[in-house]
Amino acid sequence: MIKLENIEKYYANKGVKSYILRHVSTTINQGEFVSVMGPSGAGKSTLLNILGMLEEPTYGTYEFMGEDVTSLNERKRIELYRNHIGFVFQAYHLIDEMTVAENIEAPLLYKKIGGAERKSRVADMLDRFNIVGKKDLFPNQLSGGQQQLVGIARALAAQPSIILADEPTGNLQSAQALQIMELFKKLNKEEGITIIQVTHSELNATYGSRILHLLDGVIKEDLKV
């Protein structure tokens, strides 16, 4: 599903290149649950951003579902966001001005899904995450864990084939974190959604099927769990 070849990312400052990623090559298949680990500054988030096409690599090629997406025009990229990629952020990043239901509905609107279908999908998500009672609340009226549930619900609403999660439990207490990880595992197992998460936590990594260890921009270790 994802094929990275010799991905490099560096910033040139006064002639000095500071590397974020070096010679990153790997393949991630449909249905995998990959955890990217490593110390601060190892390039984990940059790798995830490149996978999410939020950043472009300086060098190397990136194939997404058999298509070269190394430098994609905006229209096509947005097409992928609408249909294949769901993002989950550490800071949840819900839209403050929208209610829970509206946040979940937002990607469906951009996907131009009909009103009835939208209603049923949103209702389904609310139901599934047990947040029906909170559907008219605004994000600032929810706890962190609840917000992250909404964030995941939003990512899933568009029925993506892959979820990219940047430290999804980083801001959460351990009980809540556990809940989120169970959820990811279930989504991966039961619905076959590919998940790539960046995490600091060894425990979280054990929920996945594979761990990529990054150090100073280089993949040091590629473990099957």
Binding site: G52, E74, Y81, I95
Partner: protein, 790 residues
């Protein structure tokens, strides 16, 4: 999607109440000003364009030449025979009609006396202007020699109803006329308004001289309609030299000028159109756009200032599939919603302020909600404003990179954006400063003109129209008034002291040069007690006096006249005025006759009985004004019972003269005030935002030991720098503009340095108050709160 965006936009407005209020308030004020001024401009542009043939209506104009053949002046007063001559000379002329100035004439119906604005006109006048008839036949309404046409409101006042066809009225207490038509009230913006219209033949019947063929007397207006295919320039070529065919030594040419242009382009230099009222309209339109623009700037500034807050939302939306176009659309929608709210408020504001505005400009504007054109213009203003205000933030915000926006590492292109915002603030304040400096200058000039000595005592000086039986009973009236003690002086004048209406050239005196023949003297005809009544300062000699029989051939000269004539010993010298040898009895100090902004011209006061339009009187200072005027009312009514008595105070009439300047002063005052208010609103919003952003910095500095004073200065100084820059830019502009404006006046005030010092100081003070309002509060806040923020 639209619904959701709409909902979110409203939630955003509610969440950021302060900036919403600043935005909507500023925009509403700007839009109201703009709409008012546009209504005014529309009113002026609409002059004389309400009629079916408006495009083909022309007015005959006169270029009068001086000795050397240059155009001395251009005016619309034509001879009574011109209409028939034009009909004979010109092919392609479909209609031609004469009319007079509108004068108050006495109309009586069953003892109900009323003075109505009347014009005399040829029957073709109704072909030139297709009025809206409530009753009567436009084909015949003026053809019957004893007919009268009334406007609806005149009919209602006179009869109590508009259904008055074929009723009889008495006109000027002399002839019986039959109502042949009632028309809808005329719009206020026509050049030839009237309340009653009476056939030209009645005019000739009442005044013998009008019927006499005369190429020398310029008194009337001649209006014509050309056939569509006729080219006005060709007509004008044909008209060159036409008058000389009938009057060989005439020094004038006739030309035709489109009536629909006359109101706005009514000034002529060397016989060519050189603008006119259009300049004032353009100034107002410029003002309208300027004020709207500074309101839009507020919007842009606040929107981009808040961009950091919205960066996250943009980032998220992009990752869940929003295109740039959909984001632009969203921000434009927000801007349109805001503009719509503002425009609704401003429509209400315009409705409320319209009576005041009409009163201020002495016009009659109403908003016609049924006119689709008004809605189209309103829609255009809405879209343009919404677009102008929303486009920059929309494209700026929607261009954010999602990763940076979400990581809060967004580089806000600090230098560039801040510079643009600074430029906009500088622009706003420059505009406001120019308006303030202009306002002060206009007021100063106004005061300067008002303070200028008139040369006569205008206080307690009154006049009534000399009319009806008052001509034969003038001496009786004078005796009675003086005996009663209501007045202490009475004289009759050929025209009001406030209104210059007569000049004479070709005076002869001993020692004159050939060129002196062409000096134009202002002239008033009067009889006894001129000086005594008016309070004009006598420098030498004496007033006209009944005791000296020879005074009937007397003349008084102004100081300037004496100087220009070069008379060494003016008293007793002989002057030939229109063939009559007159003796100079006195010399008086120059007086302002008519326009206070013009230099004095030489003037003569000539004794002539019978040419009198006004009876001028000085009230008795020992008695109260109400008592005196009541006595005058009673006495005049006794002697001339058929005419209502209208007592006019000369100081009021003089006040009227300055109306244009007063209007301009009031308008620039109001709109200058609004401009500075809107600019300060924007500054308030920006400083609030800047402080919000710098909360942490303020906390840190406080912990490090900065005092409240130092912090306030630190936070205010950036904004004050902008205002200072604006002052530096605006001052020369204001100076040049006002210097140019003052060129309109002969008598003008100086552009003192204090105007600019005051304007600068005032603006700076207002800006300082606006900014420090918040900076002080921020500087005083507890640093712990500020530091907890992140």
């Amino acid at each position: 999607m639209l619904k959701l965006n709409f909902k979110i936009a409203l939630r955003n407005l509610w969440r950021n109440r302060t900036s919403s209020i600043i935005n909507i308030g500023g925009l509403a004020i700007g839009l109201s000003s703009c709409l008012l001024l546009l209504l005014y401009a529309g009113y002026e542009y609409g002059y004389d364009k309400q009629f079916r043939d408006s495009g083909n209506v022309y007015q005959a104009m006169v270029n009068a030449y001086d000795e050397s053949g240059n155009v001395a002046n251009t005016h619309g007063f034509t001879q009574n025979v011109l209409a028939s001559a034009l009909q004979a000379e010109l092919a392609g002329l479909s209609e031609v009609a004469r009319t007079t100035e509108a004068y108050k004439r006495l109309v009586t119906y069953q003892g109900n006396n009323m003075k109505l604005d009347n014009r005399y006109a040829d029957p073709a006048f109704l072909k030139v202007f297709d009025y809206q008839y409530i009753s009567g036949n436009p084909e015949k309404a003026l053809s019957d020699p004893n007919s009268i046409i009334l406007t609806e409101s005149a009919a209602k006042r006179l009869f109590g109803t508009a259904d008055v066809l074929n009723r009889a009225v008495k006109f000027e207490n002399q002839v019986d006329l039959k109502v042949t038509a009632v028309i809808k009230n005329l719009p206020a913006n026509v050049s030839y308004p009237f309340e009653t219209l009476v056939p030209w033949t009645i005019y000739e019947q009442l005044n013998n001289w009008v019927a006499r063929m005369n190429w020398g007397n310029h008194e009337f207006f001649t209006l014509l309609v050309l056939n569509k295919e006729v080219d006005a320039d060709q007509v004008n070529l044909k008209l060159k030299g036409m008058v000389n065919k009938y009057l060989p030594n005439a020094k004038e040419d006739i030309f035709i000028y489109p009536l629909k242009r006359l109101h706005l382009y009514g000034d002529f230099v060397n016989g060519k159109s050189s603008g006119g009222k259009i300049k004032q309209v353009q100034v107002f339109v410029g003002l309208a756009i300027g004020i709207l623009l500074i309101a839009c700037i507020n919007f842009m500034n606040l929107a981009t200032a808040h961009s950091q807050k919205r960066a996250k939302e943009i980032g998220i939306k992009k990752t869940i599939g929003a295109t740039k176009a959909s984001l632009v659309f969203q921000f434009m929608l927000e801007s349109m919603i805001l503009t719509t709210i503002s425009i609704l408020i401003s429509i209400a504001a315009v409705e409320v302020s319209l009576p005041w505005f009409n009163h201020l400009l002495d016009i009659q504007i109403t908003i016609d909600y049924t006119n689709p054109l008004n809605w189209i213009i309103l829609g255009a203003v809405l879209v343009l404003t919404g677009f102008a205000a929303g486009s920059y933030p929309a494209f700026y915000l929607s261009g954010f990179n999602p990763v940076q926006a979400l990581k809060k590492t967004l580089n806000f292109k600090r230098g560039y954006v801040l510079n643009l915002r600074q430029l906009l603030v500088i622009f706003q304040f420059s505009f406001a400063i120019v308006l303030i400096a202009s306002t002060i200058t206009i007021y100063k000039q106004l005061q300067f003109i008002k303070d200028r000595p008139l040369g006569y005592q205008e206080k307690a000086l009154i006049e009534i129209t000399h009319e009806g039986l008052l001509y034969e009973r003038y001496d009786l009236l004078k005796d009675k008034l003086l005996a009663d003690g209501a007045v202490v002086g009475v004289t009759q004048l050929s025209g009001s002291l406030t209104n210059r209406n007569g000049t004479i050239r070709d005076l002869k005196w001993e020692g004159m040069s050939a060129a002196d023949r062409l000096i134009d003297f202002d002239q008033i005809y009067t009889t006894y007690d001129f000086i005594k009544t008016t309070g004009v300062t006598l420098l030498a000699g004496r007033d006209f006096n009944k005791k000296f029989a020879s005074d009937t051939a007397g003349i008084l000269l102004s100081k300037k006249a004496v100087a220009m004539m070069g008379l060494k010993n003016p008293i007793g010298s002989k002057i030939v005025n229109q063939g009559v040898v007159r003796t100079v009895l006195g010399v008086f100090n120059d007086l302002v006759w008519g326009d206070r902004t013009k230099f004095e011209v030489p003037m003569v006061i000539t004794f002539t009985d019978g040419i009198s339009e006004d009876i001028t009187m000085r009230l008795n200072p020992q008695k109260s004004i109400t008592e005196s005027t009541a006595a005058i009312q009673r006495i005049v009514h006794e002697l001339n019972p058929d005419f209502p008595v209208d007592i006019r105070f000369l100081d009021n009439l003089n006040e009227e003269k300055l109306k244009n300047e007063v209007t301009l002063a009031k308008l620039s005052n109001v709109f200058g005030g609004l401009a500075i208010f809107i600019s300060c609103l924007g500054l308030f919003g920006l400083s609030a935002f800047s402080i919000e952003q710098r909360t942490k910095e303020i906390g840190v500095r406080k912990v490090l030991g900065a005092s409240i004073g130092e912090l306030t200065t630190l936070l205010s100084i950036n904004f004050l720098k902008l205002v200072l820059t604006a002052i530096v830019i605006a001052m020369p502009v204001a100076y040049i503009l006002m210097d140019h404006w003052l060129q309109n006046f002969d008598v003008k005030t100086s552009l003192s340095w204090w105007i600019f010092l005051f304007t600068g100081g005032f603006t700076l003070f207002i800006a300082l108050v606006t900014v420090s309002w918040q900076t002080y509060a921020a500087a005083r806040a507890n640093p712990v709160k500020a530091l907890k923020y992140e």
